[in-house]
Amino acid sequence: MKREEAIRLTLLGLAMSAVTALAVITTFILKEGLPVIFRHGPASFLFGSDWSPSAEPPVFGVFAMIAGTFAVTFGALGIGVPVGLGSAIFLSEFAPRRVATILKPALELLAGIPSVVFGFMGMLVLLPFIRTHVGGQGASVLAGSTILGIMILPTVISISMDALRSVPRSYREGSFALGATGWQTTWKVTLPAARPGLVAAVILGMGRAVGETMAVIMVTGNTVQMPKSFLAPVRTLTSNIALEMSYADGEHREALFATGVILFAIIMALNTIANSVGRLGRKRS
């Protein structure tokens, strides 16, 4: 039985790989990023909106980028959530069987389109469209929100569909038996029952939008400034890292890791919320 025990321990070791990776990643990002935050003061790093890495002395404030990230993200949710939830409701509750069996896999497959392709489409099609029909230079919060809103669709749709499908059939049957229409059943019975899962879908979609890098760089203009309007260019936290990483060194590079720390904190908070909301939903049903 010694051999069996050795195998069990080996597998346990392998099973720790994901947690270990998470721990090592967290440690390294914090180790590289935290010193510069404390050297300049957490308040001035978080709430300063001046980012001048080459000034003497350099100034690092990421507030404009935090604002930029949230502007683009909430815009994306404004587009992605109604369309995503609507599609999920349609596909799981109302679509004729044949339509659902074609559209559902199609949407799942499209989750794999690389973000650079979305960004490219945004650059060549969306930016000129905004420039001529809406105004401004094109590269803007609006452009970023639109592209991200499309990109989070597969995530929002597939997780909400899982949530809707885990609502027991008998709930719907009970509602129909009382004479409710299909939409009344969905609105009054199915959606409330699936709420925790739907909230998790929105939060995970939000996480995707906050973390997206390449597509955002290509369409938001990347100017470090507080977002004043939907047509103003902004820079997000992710873009800040990707744009300057290739030439940054010394304290500038540390400041980019510090930007990563802020991003990491936002993402972990969102994951934890999604996780506990999801668990809440499972417990109840």
Partner: protein, 282 residues
């Protein structure tokens, strides 16, 4: 005034049809747009010759080779880790705080943005371990990124193998490991392979994590060692699209078409295989 429920139902149905079709058409439209503009420039000569003039001329052979080396390297590292994790979760333990920690780790890892993986891979593999911008650094970074995908799919696959198979195997006097190795793993293999194929696709479409770990150097030959710096298809496309002049746009479209086509083929085969596999045990 109260709108009759029947009217509300019918109009909501119309709204839902519209948003669903809008979602599908937008996503399908993007794929169609890329293929429409890109495929005419995809010629055998483009696929099988080396790039020239920073990619504005010539082909993408060295880029394709670099991409293959990196994504295959990534799954070679991630597969034993991920499948081992899944075997432990499904066959060797019941739900307790250890499994919760393992699942939490995998879930969090899945949610980390690729740019964070890029930062980490840069400071850890490229600098701290001294692997420089190389196939190895890129592959190791992507391995960590694909770990959650492989764990999750392998877990689904293992759980799909009917309990009866395990009982029969025990009844014949097999040890747990013999049962796993001879009965459960062969039964779950198609599902596990699906996860690996999905991880290949995800790695292939990745840009932010590889640009800082595998580098951006455009090689003029097929890489010969894991220490060589390479440019993947996604990175090559990104650089052509953003830094290129108007002259490099046809090449950008053609590269995007190859990328999208490859990922679609990978995903379609993975999903069909998984559906067929799950249907077998239903």
């Amino acid at each position: 005034m109260r709108v009759p429920p029947k009217v509300v139902h019918v109009s909501m149905l119309g709204v839902l049809w519209t948003v669903t079709l809008a979602a599908v058409f937008t996503l399908v439209g993007i794929v169609g747009w890329v293929l429409w503009h890109g495929l005419p420039d995809v010629t055998p000569q483009f696929l099988f010759s080396m790039p020239a003039e920073s990619g504005a001329e010539g082909g993408i052979l060295s880029v394709i080779a670099g991409t293959l080396f990196i994504i295959v390297g990534a799954v070679l590292v991630a597969t034993p880790l991920g499948v081992g994790t899944a075997i432990y979760l499904v066959e060797y333990t019941r739900e307790n705080w250890v499994t919760r920690v393992i699942r939490y780790g995998a879930d969090c890892l899945a949610g980390i943005p690729s740019i964070i993986f890029g930062l980490f891979g840069y400071v850890f593999f490229v600098i701290t371990l001294g692997l420089r911008w190389s196939i190895l650094s890129g592959a190791l970074t992507l391995a960590l990124m694909s770990l959650p995908t492989i764990i999750r799919t392998a877990e689904v696959a293992l759980r799909a193998v009917p309990q009866g198979y395990r009982e029969v195997s025990y009844a014949l006097g097999a040890t747990r490991w013999q049962m796993v190795l001879r009965v459960v793993l062969p039964g779950a293999l198609p599902g596990i392979v699906t996860g690996i194929v999905l991880a290949l696709g995800r790695s292939m479409s990745e840009t932010a994590a590889v640009i800082f770990t595998a580098g951006t150097v455009l090689p003029d030959r097929i890489p010969t060692s894991t220490g060589d710096s390479v440019r993947t298809l996604a990175v090559h496309f990104y650089l052509l699209a953003t830094e290129g002049t108007a002259g490099s746009q046809p090449k950008a479209f053609a590269t995007a078409a190859i990328l999208v086509l490859a990922i679609l083929v990978i995903n379609v085969s993975a999903y069909t295989a998984m559906h067929r596999f799950l249907a077998r045990y239903r």
